[in-house]
Assembly symmetry: C2
Homo-oligomer: 364 residues x 2
């Protein structure tokens, strides 16, 4: 059975009609949701433009320039509402809550920018951007959650992946967490995001092209072959449980990079069984705590869930988590400069085997 984790789901609308979904642990009554704020309608000028050189869509969301930028803690929009201070969350407390981003890069209501030219076409930035609050504790982090709390986040990811996949025109669901001011995170309250893209993203397309070629050549799954080789070799494995294995990929691009694969090929988070989700909560927390133990401060990271596209290649893709950091030493960051950003050629100063050893040896 895919899901046996008891929780209560309540959906409602914020004052400007954005959807909000509460996920509360255990059985219970749905919440009564009432946002007392007076909010202007969300602006959604997003458009996509096709880059003919790189054969990719670029999203332009010029309305986002003025989005909230590192507000003081007592103005955090992701904390529960209190009397006299109404936040994005119209509740006195919550376990996990998801809502539509007030400054979305993609939106179902995006205006039509016109067709552009045949060489450089344009289309509306149709899609959806959601915020996932992992906990109502402003000073917590994902790594500090209990396994039960982490398990509920997984439930929310599964729920949202399924729900957003049903939106017309949506082609890929991306659950991720940007963590740390070093990578430009503008709100410190522990939260992640979910993007529903109207195209298969360039990285996913590139990976699936390689996987398709591998299948044609060998009849096998590229992802399963990589996982098997890493597990056999072992030198870059960080940890392994019944259902999941975490390893530093042999050709890691980032100074810290870990991939977390389920042992069973599934296209996306909704396809994970209850047992796989339970195990994931523990495996992911162990991984995050090791990452935070690497240096004397929380590690800035991007945690990126690679899921199958909504319609294409669902039998080819293999769900996995990629988590990576730009911190290359206690006091140094890795910057993407000419070689990486100009040529797409990654150069790293850190050997994957060394990072893996350090991540195995730290006390999480």
């Amino acid at each position: 059975m895919p899901n046996d984790f008891s929780h209560t789901r309540t959906t409602g609308r914020l004052a400007d009609n954005r959807e909000i979904i509460f996920f509360d642990r255990g059985p219970g009554e749905p919440r009564l949701i009432h946002d007392e704020r007076d909010l202007p309608a969300v602006s959604t000028a997003s458009q996509l433009r096709f880059d003919p050189l790189l054969d990719e869509w670029v999203t332009m969301a010029s309305h986002r320039q003025e989005r909230t930028h590192l507000p003081p803690t007592d103005e955090c929009p992701l904390c529960p509402s209190r009397k006299g201070r109404r936040t994005e969350i119209p509740a006195a407390g919550y376990d996990v809550v998801v809502f539509e981003n007030r400054f979305p890069s993609l939106a179902t209501s995006a205006a039509d920018p016109g067709a552009g030219s045949p060489l450089i076409p344009r289309r509306p930035g149709t899609g959806r951007c959601e915020v996932v609050c992992f906990t109502d504790d402003h000073d917590a982090s994902f790594a500090s959650l209990t396994p039960e709390a982490a398990r509920l986040v997984i439930e929310a990811w599964a729920d949202r992946t399924a729900a957003l996949s049903a939106i017309s025109g949506v082609e890929q669901i991306f659950c991720f967490e940007n963590r740390g001011e070093e990578i430009g995170v503008t709100l410190s309250h522990p939260h992640g995001q979910i993007y529903a893209y109207p195209f298969v993203t360039p990285r996913t397309r590139a990976i699936l092209t390689a996987a398709e070629r591998h299948r044609e050549r060998t009849g096998r799954s590229l992802f399963a072959d990589v996982l098997a080789e890493e597990r056999d070799d072992g030198v870059r494995v960080i940890g392994s449980s019944e259902h999941w294995t975490a390893f530093v990929p042999a050709a890691a691009r980032w100074p810290v990079e870990v991939h977390l694969y389920p042992h069973r090929r599934v296209p996306d988070i909704p396809a994970l069984t209850g047992a796989e989700r339970d195990d994931l909560a523990h495996s992911y927390l162990d991984l995050l705590r090791r990452l935070d133990a690497l240096y004397d401060r929380p590690l800035p990271y991007v945690a990126a869930w690679h899921q199958a596209p909504v319609h294409a290649d669902r039998d080819l893709a293999y769900l996995h988590l990629q988590i990576f950091s730009i911190r290359r030493a206690a006091d140094k960051l890795k910057y993407l400069a000419g070689s990486e950003s100009g040529m797409g050629a990654f150069i790293t100063d850190v050997l994957p085997e060394d990072v893996a050893q350090r991540l195995r040896e730290v006390t999480p």
Copy 2:
């Protein structure tokens, strides 16, 4: 005639046998070069590993972790040598000088890392990395050079592109400048770099794939078609001279991004005529000065020369400069986070037409 700019070229060796090449304006005697320092041999542990998911080579240069990091001005290794303080440049002054990087990501002497596995092969990080000092004035910038000084840098780029293209195993030459602490530049002395890669870089490969498809479909050059469309449209053009046009591409990924194309298709910098080089010096300086005038401080940028691969697709590629910045407002930077770094899906908050208008209107 491809080159009629009078200068004197002197080659020599630094104390640890790295090559150094002086480019001095005007006719003259070659220099006498003698590096009095006692330097240890350069360490070159670079290796390439193949990422089977993205079908790309990743360069690993673990010996670079300890490279020089923002030294005080009076210890700048790119300033001329003085009595009692020997720098990388064994001369009391210079116009333009190029030398092999002491901490190279790629080197002709790279050790063999072993073959790896069939799925994830390895090979030596063969290639070469050079540093290009644009001027001996520590406090200058490329934008502050005279046209004659800029013209000499172009001469050096052409010389080095031709010379490095002749190295066995080298497949692409990348002349670039990383500018600004915001993108991790570790030396503030005005300088650029040249990488000689042992593979065609991922971005170049993607662009040439699109160009090949376009040629098959239309019989025309994708680059020439893009340039013609931008010149016809005009709304994103920054400036145009006899031989060059600068424009913000319609699907720009970065908050500030300008492409500078010659009107004649050439594969690389060595193929530019003297007149095209003269014009480039003026056009490029005008562009850089406009970029620095956008905000009240020097703009951090990457200036990336896209040249044809050394052996492949030389009739397909079209030399152009891509210059881009992560500064998205006077006090804000664009960070690559989940969508860009995890999915390869770029989202920008700035409309290309707005940036183009501002760049046209600023006083350089």
